[in-house]
Symmetry: C2
Subunit: 345 residues, 2 copies
Amino acid sequence: MKRASLKDIAEALNVSKTLVSLVLNNKGEQWGISEETQKKVFKKAEELNYHPNQMARGLRTGKSNIIGLVVADISNPFYAKISRTIEREVTKLGFQLLVCSSDEVPEKEYKLIELLKDRQRVEGIIVATTQENNGQFIQLKKEQFPLVFIDRKPEEMPSNYVGVDNYQGAFDAVEHMIKVGKRRIGLINVSPTYISTLQERVEGYKNALKKHNIKLVNSIHAVSYNDIEKTTEEAVRDLVKGQLNADALFTVNNYVAVNCLQVLHKMNVRIPEDVAMICFDDMDAFKFSHPPLTTVAQPLEKIGEESVKLLMKQMSGKTVPPQSRILPTKLVIRKSCGSHLAGAK
Amino acid sequence: MKRASLKDIAEALNVSKTLVSLVLNNKGEQWGISEETQKKVFKKAEELNYHPNQMARGLRTGKSNIIGLVVADISNPFYAKISRTIEREVTKLGFQLLVCSSDEVPEKEYKLIELLKDRQRVEGIIVATTQENNGQFIQLKKEQFPLVFIDRKPEEMPSNYVGVDNYQGAFDAVEHMIKVGKRRIGLINVSPTYISTLQERVEGYKNALKKHNIKLVNSIHAVSYNDIEKTTEEAVRDLVKGQLNADALFTVNNYVAVNCLQVLHKMNVRIPEDVAMICFDDMDAFKFSHPPLTTVAQPLEKIGEESVKLLMKQMSGKTVPPQSRILPTKLVIRKSCGSHLAGAK
DNA sequence: GTGAAAGCGCTAACAG
DNA sequence: CTGTTAGCGCTTTCAC
């Protein structure tokens, strides 16, 4: 059975397509179409199981009703949670969400964004960018294309951004370790290190050390996504067993933390007795990890909600100056720093 | 600057839209359009930064180039992993993937499927259904709408399905516990229990006990998604401290397992010494949980790949009889059953 | 080898 | 209050 279209309803009722369209879009009132006619239309639509064709409508109005979301990896709980919130929020507003993963490769992200915009004609994009070059974004901005950055922001351009105070979050974490008596605190970063959040976190780490007059050499290592196991093992080993003789480790995100944890276990080092650990980004799994990890948690729901708000503002047509929403992080103290132990200072 | 359309290219080159369309769709050869003309067209398209409008094309061809995926919760690592694979596979074939979460509520899933099909005009749907009623699916089948079930299958209808041998997986898990010396093995299920996978897993559990002549009473509890903490606490307490006095727990999926783990920790019961634990469904986090959990792992990538293959077969137009792909599970032995300990039988 | 023309289903300007 | 008409951008049939 063929799908019912506006025309079918119109013909069955001996009215025009226009009328039907108006009624079904709830503009009947405003055009003063009689109650009775409206009822007939609704009834017939129901009867024929009518559903508007999004593509036809989109073609006509120039609006696809789709929002795009590009993240590094949707199977990372961090992005998955944000994505859920964004999906929920845009759905409320009548949009669909198209989610893509860039796998942390800049060229892929570039293509994904092009695809979403040019082919799929999404009405706006939310992105946790992995690109160093901001050329594409400058271009989008010129075109006034609705765009908001989450988590990571591009270099040197005013932009709509929702994220957390990475500097302060890292600072708090490191200071917590210091208060608990740790001094030789190593940092495990991850390439590509130009990502804005990473840089801010490293800065927070450095300044916390400086404030407490701690001078360390070779205390920072960066692992790499495409050879995560090997590079993590090397980094951890060097930090813990090498010159630094680390008594604490600060990992720059959850993905890195998970890998560190495994290496540490393999090396039979005790956490927090031998080395303490804090990780930027919380996730459910850390509640029951061995040991439960102390983390810097981000307000993921809030990030999702705010990003949608910012996007909608741009989509409303008014030209709004780029806005940033910097949200606070929260130090979630569990057991990987030993602050719960009797002997803790 | 307005976007370039076929017409723009045609006018700039003084040829027809038809010609341009043919060339750009790589049908130039087949229609015997001269090399030279083709080159001109490609060049101009590049120059004007032309991108086909997916909506216009879709309207004309009746194909949206979109595949829908409906799961319970995309932020559950289990579905996130499958989703990644599916996204990768359909992208290879030139489709986009639209992912929606039903939150385990049947009515929501029903609406989501309607929306995808009627409004968004997706060309096929892959679903891990949470519906008990199969009415919608019967209807879809009548219409020959491309549909494949993953993980969970609907009751009493031949369907295209990709999943694992849940019965055997559960059987193996329980038998492993028995071999390790456990006898009073409780099972923690989750409502709604009509879900096919759950039923099969419970069956596997029961038969493993039967095979070893173990008779248990009140050894099965079901917790509930919408009040997970409280119901889990009750279930675990009753199983472990109550009449059964359980020395082992089998949880029916990862979500339930995570909650059990927390309750167990809170109750200060030692795993595996006091009670052993196995969970159906593996996830990365269980590698470093306390303790590392022994699990029944599903081949998630394979499930994703196969489901896309099955979907494409249906979309190709030929009528194919419903097919099932039942893949094997794998028992991943870690430390929550004590089989690694010296004293294990 | 190439072009004209129709039409997918919808919306919106305009006419009455 | 309701209808006519045009057209969004593309593909495809048919004609030359």
